[in-house]
Assembly symmetry: C2
Homo-oligomer: 213 residues x 2
Amino acid sequence: MTKPETVSRSAAPKKRQRRKDARPAEIIEAGLAEFAEKGFAGARLADVAARAGVVKGTIYRYFDNKEALFQAAVMSRIVSTLDNVEELVDGYEGPTDELLKLVLKVIYEKIVASDARILLRIIIAEGARFPDIPANYYRDSISKGMALIDRIVQRGIEQGEFQDGPMTKAPPIILGPAIFAAVWKMTFEPVAPLDLDTFMEAHVDMALNGLLR
Amino acid sequence: MTKPETVSRSAAPKKRQRRKDARPAEIIEAGLAEFAEKGFAGARLADVAARAGVVKGTIYRYFDNKEALFQAAVMSRIVSTLDNVEELVDGYEGPTDELLKLVLKVIYEKIVASDARILLRIIIAEGARFPDIPANYYRDSISKGMALIDRIVQRGIEQGEFQDGPMTKAPPIILGPAIFAAVWKMTFEPVAPLDLDTFMEAHVDMALNGLLR
DNA sequence: ACTACTAATGACCTTTGGGTCATTAATATA
DNA sequence: TATATTAATGACCCAAAGGTCATTAGTAGT
């Protein structure tokens, strides 16, 4: 171009760019990061813009206001990650304890260890003021996980591998430790780190001890 | 809403009062409620003042700024609630499974079912920005609970009642479901209520199945 | 009852940050 | 190359909220 940089030594390629369809996703990504760090009220749109490589005004070309961006950002991350696992469960041949072990492993990978747990902080922190968020997360993720566990438990009982008891009446108890681990990771990790492998092994051990005949 | 009546018939005793030593506690209480509802950034000092029955300026007679009030409020609620339980454990005579059952019951009462769980939301929501908070909560509450559980488990093993295994190496797994229940209550309760009694029974059942020989 | 002290007030100041809009410049089309 | 379109900018507006302080009025001491 004919325009030489005013600062020749510094590599500062600050050219204005028009990328209509890439912007929304980039802004959402930036917003999610800021909201997770600072919360809804604490996040500044100027920071979101800076992180997305645009200017505050640009955000308003794509989102009506701060809350709209927040909702869009959070909702974009609330997805059904366990759909393929359902099929796995239905088509599984083999001992039910192995199946449970397998599914718990997937849940740890997809929910606890992934960056999806930053979503959990937002849900807990802002859920009371934005009730749609926990409602949708429950519908698309949590309840899926619960249903999965419940189906596995029922299968185990039907096949005579699992025993009936208090545990089989409360599916959350089997999933609970995983959520707990996610919460721990994002809260107490700096002061008391949690070894996920050890914890998960204990989790599986505990669940199976209570279920197996 | 506290509304200042323009109407004369209403009994509105709004006399200015001087209560030097009652104010800080009242302001802290009001602050805690606001911070729990709106988060640190979202809470307004004018609202805190109104809730405490004072005026915004009054807050600054007792606290340097918003953050100082926040810290004071949160720290005032981080207390050692399990100290007396330690003694109970040390002096307990009888089967270890009964002891574990007893202690879990106390933990549910003191941490999960009490209003202390509003503290948990603050810790999760603001912990990343105010690291002292999770650190202190861990030191005064969580680690106490863990130590308690660990001591009970050790006792069970020594007396030949419990078996060694993955679970005995990860005390958080035994406490985890309780924390999970607290998180659930403050997040998904409106969309999917959790029956604490049923859940706790399942919790105890699961823990003991994994521990007992 | 008078006075000194200071808790409490509320008007005021200042900064922050959400939101707006005229202007600029990148791209598509002719 | 010239022109139209509109994504992107950044200066600007303004309400909201943190924070200050001179004034007011309870209260204790005499």
